[in-house]
Amino acid sequence: MRRLTRRELALMLGAGAIAGTTRAEGSGPVALPGVVGMAEAKAKLGRPLSREQADRVIAGAMAAAVGAGSGVEAAASIFTPGDTVGIKVNCLAGRSLSPRVELVEALVDLLAGAGVDRRKIIVFERTSRELERAGFTIRRQGPPYRCVGTDNDYDRLPSSSGAIGSCFARIVSTECTALVSFGVVKDHDLSGVSAGMKNWYGVIHNPNKYHQNGCDPFIADVARHPFIRDKLRLTVLDGVVAQCHGGPAYRPGATFELGLVSASTDPVAADLWAWQVIEAERRRRGMPTLEEAGRPVRFLATAAHHGLGVDHPDRLRLVTA
């Protein structure tokens, strides 16, 4: 694994690759396979970051992810002012281990700074109750952004992708033109890791059907459904505090202060990084690997096989802010 600075990344990719980080008319969003940007953010479990810290961290990770000069430039290279952006947060574990509100709001501000209409920025989760429990305030119309639960507003009919057949949240299928997975870095009792990709289980009506075989190939099948694959632009992981065991619920003794927030346009690489830091912490504690613990992380290879991103450690490039 290589650790690069943002400048090194820009030099490596060449100026043209990022093109001043603002999208040219008609060009697609910036996507850098294997690149994960990250920024440091120290805080104790349950303690918020200051808003200034949150702004700095999100901007830093975003800029590092695409080699941009600033967070706003990074956002502008990934999203357009005409986008309706859905930010899917994973709040299953409650306030202790959900994406921090201040980080999500920092991202919202970056998107707005890049020209996205605040009324078209939707922070969402399966239910309003889960959002509230994680500290979010329900805002059905905004301002300063919309924050709503799917609350059973699914497509009328199921659609298939590989082995899955599901009704998708209409926010994802119909309303949004761009998506962000905003997850946490945690262990999962069946899939091994629950970070950015597993988060998409929260947009289908029947996730309980797809936990066999370490959630493989189901996680990849959800992520390669056109509703996700064609709209997913960014994965952000709140690793200020992470959890190396006992997930997906919050397990007090298994959390650790990782002190990092990551951002990536490659959802597979983002989860690969999460996997690596979980394994590193487990090693540090003398715990068995996830595979030895009976939950090998299979879904990343399947996702990579389907072209969703990079799953090989040699191709993972961590870029610091």
């Binding site: 889960e130 057949g165 009792d189 069946l190 009506h205 309980n208 997930g247 997906p248 619920a249």
Partner: protein, 378 residues
């Protein structure tokens, strides 16, 4: 469309008695609440068939999926949740579909012909058939459908009020609400009603043996006689279903079998013959087998309805295998709906769709040759 607007009664009111109105379902006291995940405002009752594992996990011992479930997660059925190391059912007494149907609609053709059955279901299922006819409740979780408090005693009271002499756990998959089935059966028996179940048979033996003896009849959907079909189309396995059929026979509970024939997937001559011969040999010639017609739905919309000729061919194969009672389903007015005496060929019960036109049985026997016809007639 928002799924939480799904109506209480989501299934076609093809039955003669029609659908119950929601007002008939009286809400009981406020549901118990316990902390949990998104469904934590649902009433929860500790499940009866599971074991606790290390680190707060549980293993479900109700169905052959044997889900290992971590804290705050649910099993494949979507209606059982681990809350802090204790496994809960979220659907006990929570009906989302209630109808008064003719018993022929289940279908039971050898159980009290022409009588009404108070039919009920909760959300959830332990498999995922791509051809599920009731997917709008079976493939959803309890918080995603509109449901009402209908505890066992209230269910039985409703049955009596509507003149139903039977109850039927049906529509969705009763295995996933097995505690509710158990308690409703006890209440029904106490009230002189006959409790029945319509199931996929995908259940662990212990749970089956604990509840089946309290039932008057069980209908099992034998979805195929091939493991590949169960794996690819059902996400279950065949072997436990065959075991279920044998246990039901061993327990002496009345059993009927339905086989939904799907073009190209499970309707070959060889498969129907293997199935029929296995039933004849293992369960005996008197277990009714209903070959029913598939209509495209849910995730299997690219196949046509089953040709009637396929059904008729299967009927013939079943009879040639030595089965005494082979029926055709979803083909109203077809002669294959009638019950004929295996002794003399006399038509004993004439049906059109779910309606009994004539019942010529005399004390459960053929009026011509006096042969006793097996079933639950009173």
């Amino acid at each position: 469309m928002r799924i939480d607007r799904r109506r209480l009664v989501v299934l076609g009111a093809a039955g003669a008695a029609g659908a119950l109105q929601p007002r008939l379902l009286r809400a009981s006291a406020a549901p118990k609440r316990a902390p949990g995940s998104a469904g934590d405002d649902l009433p929860a009752r500790e499940a009866s068939w599971y074991k606790k594992l290390e680190e707060g996990r549980v293993e479900c011992e109700l169905c052959p999926q044997k889900c290992t479930v971590a804290d705050m997660e649910r099993g494949m059925c979507g209606v059982r949740e681990n809350r802090g190391g204790t496994y809960f059912t979220l659907v006990h007494g929570r009906a989302c579909a209630v109808h008064v149907d003719p018993i022929e609609k289940k279908p039971f053709f050898h159980v009290m012909p022409g009588e009404k059955a108070l039919s009920y279901s909760t959300a959830g299922c332990n498999v995922e058939c791509k051809f599920c006819q009731n997917w709008e409740i079976s493939q959803f979780r309890p918080e995603q459908v509109q449901a009402y408090d209908l505890p066992p005693k209230a269910l039985v009271a409703t049955a009596k009020r509507t003149g139903a002499r039977l109850t039927a756990a049906t529509y969705g998959e009763p295995v996933v609400f097995w505690e509710y089935v158990r308690d409703a059966a006890a209440a029904a028996n106490a009230a002189g009603l006959k409790p029945t179940v319509v199931s996929n048979g995908f259940i662990q033996e212990k749970a089956l043996r604990e509840v089946a003896p309290s039932l008057a009849a069980i209908k099992i959907d034998l979805k195929s006689f091939r493991e590949e079909f169960y794996e690819e189309q059902v996400r279950g396995t065949l072997e436990p279903v065959l075991k279920t059929l044998q246990v039901i026979r061993e327990l002496g509970v009345w059993l009927e079998i339905v086989v939904l024939l799907i073009p190209t997937l499970n309707d070959s001559v060889e498969e129907v013959r293997d199935l029929s011969q296995w039933v004849r040999k293992t369960l005996g010639p008197d277990v009714p087998v209903h070959f029913t017609r598939f209509h495209p739905t849910y995730r299997l919309t690219d196949l046509p309805p089953t040709p009637v000729t396929t059904l008729e061919r299967s009927w013939k194969i079943g009879r040639e295998a030595g089965l005494n009672f082979v029926y055709l389903g979803n083909v109203p007015s077809h002669p294959g709906e009638n019950t004929t005496c295996p002794g003399c060929g006399e038509i004993l019960i004439r049906r059109v769709g779910f309606r009994v036109i004539a019942n010529n049985l005399v004390n459960g026997a053929c009026p011509e040759c006096s042969r006793q016809i097996p079933g639950v007639w009173e």
